[in-house]
Amino acid sequence: MKQVQVHPERCLGCMQCMLACATAHSRTKSLFTAVGESPLPKPRLHVGAGSHDEGFPNRCRHCDPAPCLLACLPGAIFRDPDTGTVLVDPDLCINCASCAMACPFGVLRYHQDWVAPAAKIVAQKCDNCLERQHEGLIPACVEVCKTGALTFEESDEALRRKTREVARSVSMGMEEQPLIPTGVQLLRQAKKQRFEMRCR
């Protein structure tokens, strides 16, 4: 089964996935109109900054067993049997934050949403864009990620591809194919140096 795969070494921190996620979860499904909605739609995945200002797309792993699901007192969090996606029922959610306390990755947020009862604050998390998938679309975050930091594929395939890349990067006698292109490396070195200099 295809799933969203995260390749953090390719994240440029552009946050387009966040914009696309919020838009995909808006009522109007268009960025230009979504920003005028009330409640304002919000992203379900978040790009965090590493210690050298490098981006990291932090997304729900849909764990199994899922600590959030196990911690959910009213039984609002459940697993979609077809896709394994961990979902929240906004009608049952009591906004107690037990799920957030249990989640090791900090991917839960609490806010109003157009599909939840009006004015009710509920737990919000990644839903693998099931609605889009039913329409034959891939998850919104993957669609806008142009560097391949987020991909939608079988995890076996993603891992096989990674094995090939690593193998090529160390193969002898051939022109080197670095895992990270030179320009990206240059930028990252410069950023790392900047942070190291602060501690002098």
Binding site: L12, C14, A49, C145, K146, T147, P181, K191, M197, R200
Partner: protein, 626 residues
């Protein structure tokens, strides 16, 4: 373990005020940088393009996603276009500042700016002759009018060359002609850059970058040079003057007025109003001991250079200075004025005043200065600042000010050398001074505040390299105590001997950021005296903490003039290794100089010293292995 404040700035006043601002729960530039993190990698690499409405586009540097924009532009073209537009913006900023000064000069000549006058008549006559204006037996104002008109011609396209570019050595001008980058008009090159980077015009990344150099030259030997020379004509050519620096220049018992920005047209009038007996008397009546005018950034540098007005701080201090609670009024003109200032001031009692018809800021009162109303408006504002004195709450001025000496115009340096650059050339030839380095540019919260400037300068002077500086770098070095005669103790033995004999500091304050052209003029004078090109000399430039588009233009005109230049922060070019390689090495074969990027000032010092020794060797002078 460093505290957050210690990680952000090396300056004592900065650290203490950062702590206070945190207690006051007032946001600063560093907090906003943190909130922006991670910053967009496409943009950091120059790979995003929003020039047209078929886009916006971005190129995937990992090669998997799109490799061309909708128009078909690849990474090389997009990076070069973006860099070109940065240069155009920087050149436009400096040159528009220059234009404003020429307009004042024209109005003085026409008798429409009665409070302004020609302060340096000798310089007016000298520059007028350079422009082919007849000076013999003519009235000053007549000459000024004709010079202003001649300078205004430089902005357009009618002349086809810039008069002051003739100050560059003949060899340099030949290179410009050969490569096709001799600047033809100040506005023309900026305008052409905007044209070339429009969709479907110049899609040669090399030709775009070469035009970028020409655009920068139109700033360095055009707009900025006009700005500096006309400022000297109107307000006086700087001569060495003592002053005090850092936040300790604010006074507990006086009305503190701070000027911030770049253009001396406003700050000079504020200064005169502050000095008037009527205002000082009013301040006394209000319970203050006097009026204390201090500067920030480059308009501060303009006043410091010409009048020894104290300097409160550089770019990253502009928010913190308000946090002292001791500033009655901050008066700004334009460039580098963070739009956060207007929102921050109400946390204290500071009144914020914007003055330029082209620069508005949220939360500031707009009181527009024009040459005909400037003196009267300045008096009104100073009066209002005095009236704000009794609104002052608690103040926090945690450090003592440090002494420094400014005012090293080219004329002043040549004067200190006895009227000719020969003693400097002799000292370099003898190896007492290995070479000279311009340490210039801004502050950038990505680099620990002042760390880049001060560390690099320290390493250079202790290794016998004379440092000349401008802008925020110059303020950093003044705060570090490098700008008094006794600072020769930080210098190596050769530099110590030479500066000691001349009674000058080892680091010479040459002015504001438009005054980087003073460094060009000095370099050209040295090259002309030796009948070589600027690129043959043991010189270098550095912008260890640059942030602004103006700095991109400055760096580019330094390089295009033959000066090897080391940047601290990485410019947005790593999306194209072709562009990186051309700028950092390929340009050597084209124009005899190139850029380097090195954020660590310790390593930048080594790069610069190695370059200087290589140039010495090529000139047949003694050379060290670095």
């Amino acid at each position: 373990m460093k505290t957050k404040a210690e990680e952000r700035t090396i300056t004592k006043d900065g650290q203490l005020l950062l702590k206070k601002m945190e207690q006051d729960q007032v946001e600063t530039v560093w907090d906003r940088l943190e909130a922006q993190s991670p910053q967009c990698g496409y943009c950091e690499m120059g790979l995003s393009c929003r020039v047209c409405a078929m886009g916006p586009c971005r190129i995937d540097p990992f090669g998997e996603g799109p490799q061309r924009g909708v128009c078909g532009a690849d990474a090389d073209i997009i990076v070069a276009r973006n860099l070109g537009r940065m240069i155009a913006a920087g050149a436009a900023a400096h040159s528009d500042h220059g234009r404003d000064l020429v307009e004042v000069l024209a109005e003085v000549a026409a008798g429409k700016a009665p409070e302004y006058s020609i302060t340096d008549e000798e310089k007016l006559r000298r520059i007028a002759r350079e422009y082919g204006v007849e000076t013999e037996g003519r009235e000053v104002l007549e000459i000024a009018g004709e010079l202003a008109a001649a300078m205004q011609e430089e902005f357009g396209t009618r002349k086809g060359f810039l008069t002051m570019a003739n100050r560059a050595p003949a060899k340099r001008r030949e290179i410009w002609q050969k490569v096709g980058i001799a600047p033809r008009g100040v506005d023309r090159e900026t305008s052409e850059m905007m044209h070339r980077t429009h969709m479907g015009v110049d899609n040669g990344w090399q030709s775009l970058l070469l035009h970028g150099l020409r655009n920068a030259l139109s700033d360095g030997w055009g707009g900025s040079m006009i700005a500096t020379e006309v400022s000297d004509i109107l307000f006086g050519t700087p001569a060495p003057t003592p002053n005090m620096v850092n936040i300790g220049v604010l006074k507990e018992d006086e009305v503190n007025i701070v000027v911030h920005g770049h253009n001396p047209v406003v700050s000079e009038m504020i200064m005169r109003a502050c000095e008037s007996a009527e205002m000082v008397e009013l301040a006394r009546k209000k319970g203050a001991k006097g009026i204390n005018l201090t500067g920030l950034c480059c308009t501060g540098n303009e006043l410091l250079m010409r009048h020894g007005i104290p300097m409160a701080g550089n770019h990253l201090m502009t928010e913190l200075v308000i946090g002292t609670g001791a500033v009655e009024m901050m008066i700004v003109d334009y460039q580098c004025i963070m739009p956060s200032l207007g929102a921050l001031a109400p946390c204290y009692h500071t009144r914020m005043i914007s003055t330029s018809d082209k620069a508005r800021f949220p939360g500031m009162e707009h009181r527009e200065f024009h040459p005909d109303n400037a003196a009267e408006l300045a008096r009104t504002l100073v009066r209002e600042a005095i009236e704000n004195f009794d609104q002052r709450g608690e103040t926090y001025i945690p450090v003592e000010a440090v002494p420094s000496v400014g005012g090293f115009s080219v004329e002043a340096i040549i004067g200190a050398l006895g009227g000719t650059p020969q003693p400097l050339i002799d000292a370099i030839t003898a190896g007492k001074i290995r070479g000279a380095v311009g340490v210039v540019g801004c502050n950038n919260p990505k680099i620990k505040h002042d760390y880049g400037h001060v560390t690099l300068t320290k390493r250079l002077i202790e290794n016998d390299c004379l440092v000349v500086d401008t802008g925020c770098a110059a303020i950093a070095n003044a705060k570090a105590g490098f700008k008094v005669a006794e600072a020769i103790k930080y210098a190596g033995p050769g530099l110590q001997e030479v500066c000691g004999a001349l009674g000058i500091p080892p680091v010479l304050h040459m002015g504001s950021c438009v005054d980087n052209v003073r460094i060009l003029v000095l370099a050209a004078a040295l090259a002309n005296a030796l009948q070589v090109d600027i690129s043959d000399l043991p010189l270098a430039g550095a912008a260890p903490e640059w942030y602004s588009e103006k700095a991109v233009s400055i760096g580019s005109y330094f390089v295009a003039s033959g000066v090897y230049t080391v940047l601290g922060p990485m410019p947005p070019i790593t999306g194209s290794m072709n562009v990186v390689n051309l700028l950092t090495s390929g340009l050597n074969d084209v124009i005899g100089a190139s850029f380097a990027v090195e954020a660590d000032p310790e390593k930048a010092a080594v790069l610069i010293r190695r370059h200087i020794e290589a140039k010495r060797k090529a000139l047949g002078l003694s050379a060290l292995d670095i």
